[in-house]
């Protein structure tokens, strides 16, 4: 019998086409639907997604099993997510979900089920050379998801396949349509998976973290409004500040420039180009390298401080086992503590770290 590959099937078009491609390649393909969130949050589409996954698998004549990782998600992703927000930071749960759930709990489960590899519908590529596995960006530059995968290591990469990593999204949808998959036109998921769209965000966080309203001040110390709690805001945020005219000299919009956590004050600046919104450098910790950790400063390195950002040229000026300092060639807008800085050399994802401070 041919090798068994188990596909993490979300019910979306990417994982569906992943399964289809592997089947066509002659693998013995099975699919697993992960339920990572319990509760009847009306914004969580898990049941609808399961139905889509089931029709796709039925159409491709592949078995679909479900597994519940909500405990793993809660303990290893969600608690951290809440802790970070409570500290006024902006975490990225998808990065952690990949390490703790998709490439740990699911991977172990799939191997228990007899898989020789797992596969997911990520836009990224794995390249094996000289007995090492390398994580490369997805071919579709617009969709590249290597940013979310920088916490993977050799073990995970050696056991994973990303069959759509060298295809662009338009073609993925085309394959889905030509194969008669019902979800070929399904909307890409956006926002945090267990919350849904941005508009539910406040309501959601309120359930888990006590609300602590406070004042909004301009960068010059002038009080210009009230905020509902620092956790609701992120660096560089423009919408939802509720600051009208009358505080500034011109009608330019206001942006979140900083959070004074000790005094519970939200600090804002006017105009997208305001210098207080830009920083040259950052300090990051919880550093992780996909291949062996570099011993000297890396040449030609660049970094992303958020998903879908263009690579930014930079230097790593200080580097220890767990921490690093990064200086950018160009000042960066809204460097956000809690988010990940992910390092690249050309097409290759080297690793990354969690942003702690900026300067």
């Amino acid at each position: 019998m041919s090798d068994t590959v188990i596909v993490g099937m979300s019910g979306g078009v990417d994982s569906s086409v992943t399964a289809k491609i592997l089947k066509d390649l002659g693998y013995n393909v099975e699919c697993v639907f992960m339920k990572n969130w319990e509760g009847d949050d009306k914004n969580c589409n898990s049941e609808e997604d399961y139905k889509d996954a089931l029709s796709v698998c039925d159409h491709l004549d592949l078995p679909l099993r479900s597994v519940n990782f909500s405990n793993e998600y809660w303990d290893n992703v969600f608690k951290h997510f809440i802790d970070e927000y409570a500290r006024g930071r902006t975490p990225n749960p998808d990065v952690l979900c990949n390490r703790e759930v998709k490439f740990k709990a699911f991977l172990d489960y799939a191997f228990d089920l007899g898989a020789v590899k797992i596969a997911t519908g990520h836009y990224a590529q794995i390249n094996e050379s000289e007995d090492e596995f390398h994580l490369l960006k997805g071919l579709d530059k617009n969709k590249d998801q290597s940013y979310f995968l920088y916490l993977l290591g050799q073990n995970e990469l050696s056991k994973s396949l990303f069959p759509i990593g060298d295809i662009d999204k338009v073609k993925v949808r085309k394959i889905a349509e030509n194969s008669g998959l019902i979800n070929y036109a399904k909307k890409d998921s956006t926002g945090v998976c267990f919350i849904g769209e941005q508009q539910f965000f406040k309501e959601f966080l309120k359930k888990y973290i006590p609300v602590k309203p406070g004042l909004i001040q301009t960068i010059d110390g002038k009080i210009c409004g009230e905020h509902d709690g620092l956790m609701y805001y992120t660096m560089g945020q423009r919408k939802g500040l509720g600051i009208g005219g009358g505080h500034g000299f011109k009608e330019a919009p206001w942006f979140v420039a900083d959070k004074d956590l000790d005094n519970n004050i939200l600090i804002v600046a006017q105009g997208h180009d305001h210098p207080s919104l830009f920083h040259h450098g950052l300090e990051a910790d919880q550093i992780h390298w996909i291949n062996e950790a570099p011993t000297n400063s890396l040449e030609n390195i660049s970094a992303k401080i958020r998903y879908r950002q263009d690579d930014q040229s930079c230097r790593i000026t200080e580097l220890s086992k767990n921490n690093c300092k990064v200086i950018f060639n160009e000042p960066q807008f809204a460097i956000t503590p809690g988010q990940s800085v992910v390092f690249y050399i050309d097409n290759k994802c080297m690793g990354g770290a969690i942003i702690d401070k900026r300067f």
Binding site: K35, P63, R65, V67
Partner: protein, 371 residues
């Protein structure tokens, strides 16, 4: 494909299917219409009602057709929101079609007490006596548990209810077709049944309601089912149900014998090969052919997938609970450890299974469990 999940559902009996097809093809009239087509449909339904009533020794006007066993349960529980006495006593291992309903009707003033079960999954009648309150308006305790097959001491429970003059309901969905069932013997006020558990079609069930027992309808409309359950009748479904009931009654001894034979072959073969295998539920007081068995050290979700690949279908916990590796609450309530719980599968045999099938199943289990 080898199917050993008859407690989840059963295939339609070919005779049942023939009857249903013939009804669907020939009789479409609305039973409420007064013309010939309508009268014919009405008479077909009433005939089905008589067959069912006869098989459980009830009167035809004590049979109310519903869309499912779940609906039958719901109608008994929801009925209580209109009554003065709103306290319900139930057991801790009922189907969600009881427990979740009770949670849902709490806002209407319903309160409830869950009786614990012993390690076999039985309710202790003495415990029932102790929790009865002045405002207890209903006792609802399942006849047979769906996960382990244990039969409750239903008549002892009913005796207590009768003494205190409290209406008694039993979810008997897992009982019909596997144990003799007569309302002369079991003097419950209400019993819920589901057709697809005994080779009838899905989407139809019935409630037995003792003539004098009260029921406030929850589905209101055209007054069908003597005002107790509105909605134009599912004629072919009802006929399929009645035929399935008739066949169950007619072949009961044969079916029980067959199931007992399969069960004992399965258990003795497994026990022969390993002393580590545990059988859950009551060793004697259980319906034939339902076996809850634990394979220490083997996760049931993995085992289920491995069997599924070989075309062998069993379940872990109740059907509604599968798809997650959460431990079964039924086994939890029976005091079974979490590690044993998550290594438990349910095998439920049916009339289509043979001794050869059992051997295939046993061999597959031995192959994958290393016990």
């Amino acid at each position: 494909m080898l199917y050993f999940d008859h407690s989840a559902t059963t295939p339609i009996h070919p005779i049942v299917l023939d009857k249903m097809n013939s009804i669907s093809q020939n009789h479409f009239g609305n039973p409420s219409s007064i013309h010939a087509s309508g009268r014919k449909s009405k008479s077909i339904i009433e005939n089905a009602r008589r067959i069912i009533a006869e098989s459980i020794q009830a009167s035809p006007n004590e049979i109310i057709f519903t869309g499912s066993g779940t609906e039958a349960n719901n109608s008994v529980l929801w009925s209580l929101i209109y009554e003065k006495n709103k306290h319900v006593i139930t057991s801790s291992i009922e189907h969600p079609a009881i427990l979740k309903v009770l949670d849902s009707i709490e806002p209407f003033g319903i309160t409830y007490t869950k009786l614990p079960v012993n390690k076999f999954g039985e309710v202790n009648p003495k415990a029932l006596e102790e929790v009865i309150k002045d405002d207890t308006g209903l006792i609802s305790i399942m006849m047979v548990n769906n996960e382990v097959g244990t039969i409750n001491p239903i008549n002892e429970l009913i005796n207590i209810a009768e003494k205190k003059n409290i209406p008694f309901h039993s979810d008997a969905v897992q009982a019909l077709g596997k144990t003799p069932l007569s309302v002369k013997d079991i003097r419950a006020d209400y019993l819920s049944f589901s057709s697809h558990k005994f080779y009838g079609p899905k989407g139809v069930g019935f409630l037995y309601k003792k003539k004098k027992s009260k029921l406030n309808p929850i589905i209101i409309g055209g007054g069908q089912e003597s005002q107790f359950r509105a909605g134009t009748e599912n004629i072919s479904g009802i006929v399929g149900l009645s035929e399935a009931v008739r066949l169950s009654a007619q072949n009961l001894d044969k079916r029980i014998l067959h199931l007992k034979k399969l069960e004992s072959e399965f258990k003795s073969k497994l026990s022969h090969y390993s002393s580590n295998i545990v059988f859950n539920g009551h060793p004697k007081k259980h319906v034939p052919g339902v076996v809850s068995t634990s394979f220490p050290g083997k996760r049931s979700d993995i085992l289920l997938a491995e069997l599924d690949r070989e075309g062998i279908e069993v379940s872990s916990g109740s059907a509604c609970g599968s798809g997650s590796i959460k431990p079964s609450f039924v086994l939890e309530e029976m005091g079974i450890s979490e590690s044993q719980n998550t290594s438990t599968i349910r095998v439920s045999f049916g009339r289509g299974n043979t001794l050869e099938d059992v051997n295939v199943l046993v061999n597959a289990l031995l192959k994958y469990t290393n016990v």
